[in-house]
Subunit: 350 residues, 2 copies
Amino acid sequence: NSSFNQKNHPHRRYNPLLDEWILVSPQRANRPWQGQTEKVTEEKLPAHDQNCYLCSGNVRVNGDKNPDYQGVFVFENDFGSLMKDDVEFSDEQSDFFTLKPERGINRVICFSENHSLTLPEMEVDDIKKVVDVWQQQYEDLGAEDYINHVQIFENKGSVMGCSNPHPHGQIWAQSSIPSTVLRTQENLKKYFEKNGSSLLEDYVKKELEAGERIILENEDFVALVPFWAIWPYETMIISKRKAENILQFSDSEKLSLASIIKDLTTKYDNLFEISFPYSAGIHQSPTDGKLHPEWHFHMHFYPPLLRNAEVKKFMVGYEMLAEPQRDITPEQSAEILKKLSLTHYKSQSY
Amino acid sequence: NSSFNQKNHPHRRYNPLLDEWILVSPQRANRPWQGQTEKVTEEKLPAHDQNCYLCSGNVRVNGDKNPDYQGVFVFENDFGSLMKDDVEFSDEQSDFFTLKPERGINRVICFSENHSLTLPEMEVDDIKKVVDVWQQQYEDLGAEDYINHVQIFENKGSVMGCSNPHPHGQIWAQSSIPSTVLRTQENLKKYFEKNGSSLLEDYVKKELEAGERIILENEDFVALVPFWAIWPYETMIISKRKAENILQFSDSEKLSLASIIKDLTTKYDNLFEISFPYSAGIHQSPTDGKLHPEWHFHMHFYPPLLRNAEVKKFMVGYEMLAEPQRDITPEQSAEILKKLSLTHYKSQSY
Ligand SMILES: O=P(O)(O)O[C@H]1O[C@H](CO)[C@@H](O)[C@H](O)[C@H]1O
Ligand SMILES: O=P(O)(O)O[C@H]1O[C@H](CO)[C@@H](O)[C@H](O)[C@H]1O
């Protein structure tokens, strides 16, 4: 019997946020890949594209004309998944056919008027303006009586279902607390009730001590590869102090957040020297008017790529039916991400 | 205030198997799509491909030579995610860094020696031989002391991460019960303890009464679109009687299963007249030697396509962070699937 070595032996790791295990198969990283590859097109985009429905002054599908905005611009999604309407509903559902109407608001946030930019290519001050708008939107939407949860996120890259390269994110605000957020909340709550401290505050301390999974750190935030990450280059930005949500951040904290977002996404772009695709989003306390001492602001980054710009990790069969599975270990990914430059590859001179 | 109508209004539905809600946005089905599309290549494949590592008599990457098999052929995956080795492990993990070694066996099951076939194009008797092998494998692997769960599945199509069109599936057998299976088991158990009957047996009865989500039915099985389906054309095959696992099926039940698999996958292929991609797999009782009266054999089909052969549903941003979301309703999908022919489009004469 050889001795267990987490760099060579299949093992499972525990995710305390979701109270579930994941499978890690480090020995599998080198298997040959003959499957589907992603198209990588890095055309130079214009600063303004007259066919882009997000650019300043252009007309959208529904006939609305965008203002000649500079900086951040927010509008209601023309094809939202939610509606504001309060519909009449009589709860006559049987056991297995349980449903209920859901109200909400979908918004699109253009990060910049410049069609050709992405977050890592923007100035920190301009990213800070995006963070300001996230804060404002969380406040405004959360103030609505029927909005109990505000999900802020970004899908970046066509492989993540993003149909427009114009830098933008989304907000889906709704009456219910979504399933994954609720599960997270239950686990944060259990921990808080048991230990009297925030799960993520304690976790960040341990990670800072360990050091090996920390990618970036500034005064107010850390960016790390979670011990239980499932995507090959998954990361999390966590506030050092237990802020329950984005409302609690001061101006200088918002600047710190903007700065760590710029640095993390720059490293991502430098990894394969492409505009790195991901879905990212904020988890924070719901806007349901209740006290949430268990909550701790964090932002997840889920990038799909595995080996290079063309080969993604497929979360299919086993992962859909049984449990998430990864090949390279979180520590290996962290080591690679750590070493990458903070200067964007497009602005590096060789 | 208008009255709630589930064909037009956003709503959430409850999934009792996972104890979570999903978001349904029927009003969103017609939004324009300018995003990534999938390549559809329908080349005619040869019955034997000398470059295919799954074909009879060919040599695999690791140097092993496949026998000149006819019908079903099982071998150990050359790049498995699990290893049989029993490694020494001292449990010295701290709170947030919890891991443990995992043992297991990965196998590949070739469904036929004919490289050009897929399940819907095979004869029912030949699919029955695949079901026989699933049964045998579940028994043999489950008999191993350290194997407590046997996951049987198929990834079909390059969009589902499948790198070889040769008809084949996989088995990942392991020491632990995987996360999603465990969650399902907990919910089946709660129901069984409360009601003294199987959740899925009661559900199937209600669905047969309702009728609108039933796609296929034979003596022993039904195929339906679950009320809480998340993928646009997601379906489930459920045994009518509460069999805990595949071992309990008689020869004629296995033939019924083969037959409903053929019919369902034929309808799938006919939907867009392409070889329809999906991940499919069986959920059944674990092989942990315990009694599992709560379990009820079923098979999930998760197909990624939404509108046509090129446009898939992206489970990204909101779905990854918050909760699964679908556009067309399960009832609309069921209506479409119901109407499709049981004669495969390739063998239809016009
Ligand atoms: O083993 P395969 O078929 O090469 O790999 C495929 O299925 C596996 C099990 O669902 C996944 O982990 C892989 O990401 C996928 O590419
Ligand atoms: O609204 P979009 O960006 O067109 O749509 C994209 O993001 C949504 C939210 O994650 C998903 O539901 C869609 O499947 C995806 O294509």
